[in-house]
Subunit: 297 residues, 2 copies
């Protein structure tokens, strides 16, 4: 366990992971949300998924989102691609980074992308080679890295083996996802001891452990985190999934413990309340409603 | 920062702090809840408050709760007393421990107990002397110890001064309460650096920081925590208060990181669902609904 970092990088995934399990909102609303997030200082943002609009209706119109957003200065625009066809469309759209997902859980992988883990990894290789040709980095997100809703525990060695294979296939970054909230500080430490801390953490609040896991991750040397404005999120394919760690909750914590994020918590709350209006129900984030501690009354 | 403890003591405050802001439920239901909590292994439990039933209707019948519960073996039965009259009634009922509250926030203290901080501390002295005569320990709970919803920041020196005065008045234990969720790991470290770690922590989820603060508290040497089954709670007198850290969420975390609590998470969830039926709405605890990670599917 080391000391806290001076700075972390937060990748905002609300417009993709946050919205994917919600009823669809319009492309205009999604662009307004992205705009509000950029106003809050977001520099890394997953803006869309090039997936089948039949499978995930809320992600329809990815190419339009990318085209209309343009290229805001200093912003890394990431999109999720589920397969080679999605990667081709994403690369044609001119984005800055691709995310691909492979699961450490065979059952989850089958349900999520209808493939074996081996087939998924092979496909990651094809996508990475395409992306490398276009000079675009690929972040491989390993879901269920701290436990599976189907198989239970996932060992650090299983994770390390998959991480090694994904890197060998050309993934330029690795993110470990706690898809159904099965991580704890101990499990994060155990996995990092094997794979090293040069990974992102993508945390969910299924069991209310998002913030404590992020804090432990920082103490263990992790410097990249995926979060979702308002704590939105959940998987349409995973029993028991729940929202992502809320961006404003991580930022509020970091602001007080002296870890720089570059993001403004009040503007993030504005974005959370904006998306609340779009989706028509309350977001789970507590900070979105109570405000940061500086807004104490 | 030290390593995690082998064991912590959890004081369950659901039957008092958890229920005080809810619509009243019957004494029978409150006893059923206490029984369910004892079945889960709870050994320290705040079972009632000897307060005015007009001011806090949900706490009516404290003497009946104490009398009908009896003296379960190995269980420390705590009650909250707001004043000398309450302390006299509590001591006559034969409980094992009293809690008294004083706030580090002058405005909060005034609204909560209609007294200045000085008057409250003087009253704690009277209560402590009465309790000492009966051989009963008194835990002085310092509310707003990490921030006030009215005055904002509270300094570690302010906290230390009040802790010293409370000990001088005869308090046998001190609990620092984060009444409106303004604590962070840094603020906990700053306060403990001045007052030492021989205190309890009473954490609220107003800003979603209960679990991370408990984790940090453990790393900083704290061994006693107040939690509420289901994450119930909130103050009837504090703007912006929200539920306590949920017992089952802390226990689920401790189970996986190797900190012994003596409590059974599944039985705690049973108790949380029991109280949900009594109060007629969902409890905020995520673990109560998702289950611990061992119940992954």
């Amino acid at each position: 366990m080391s000391s806290l970092p001076e700075r972390i990088v937060i990748r905002e995934v609300g417009p993709r992971d946050g919205l994917q399990a919600e009823a669809p909102i319009s492309v205009d609303q999604r662009l307004d949300l992205i705009d509000a997030l950029l106003t809050a200082g977001v520099t890394h943002i997953e803006i869309a998924a090039f997936v089948s609009p039949t499978a995930v209706p809320s992600m329809a119109g990815a190419a339009e989102v990318v085209a209309r957003l343009g290229e805001p200065e200093g912003v890394v625009r990431t999109v999720l691609v589920p397969n080679v066809r999605g990667a081709e469309m994403a690369l044609a759209s001119g984005v800055d980074e691709l995310t691909v997902t492979v699961s450490a859980s065979a059952t989850y992988n089958q349900r999520n992308v209808k493939m074996t883990i081996d087939d998924s990894i092979e496909q990651v290789g094809v996508i990475c080679r395409l992306a490398a040709g276009a000079g675009v980095p690929v972040d491989a997100v390993l879901s269920c890295a701290f436990g599976s809703p189907y198989e239970g525990d996932v060992t650090p060695v299983q994770v390390a083996t998959l991480v090694e294979r994904l890197r060998a296939e050309g993934a330029t970054a690795i993110t470990l996802a706690d898809t159904t909230g099965m991580a704890t500080p101990r499990r994060i430490a155990d996995v990092l001891a094997v794979v090293g801390a040069d990974v992102g953490l993508h945390l969910h609040e299924t069991r209310g452990t998002g913030l404590v896991n992020a804090y432990a991750g920082m103490l263990y040397g992790v410097r990249r985190f995926d979060t979702s404005v308002g704590g939105l999120g959940g998987s349409p394919f995973a029993h028991g999934a729940a929202g992502n760690l809320a961006t404003e909750e991580l930022v509020a914590l970091c602001d007080d413990i002296g870890v720089s994020t570059g993001l403004g918590v009040e503007a993030l709350i504005d974005a959370a309340l904006l998306v609340e209006g779009c989706i028509g129900h309350a977001v789970p984030s507590r900070v979105a409603h109570a405000g940061p501690r500086s807004r104490h009354q």
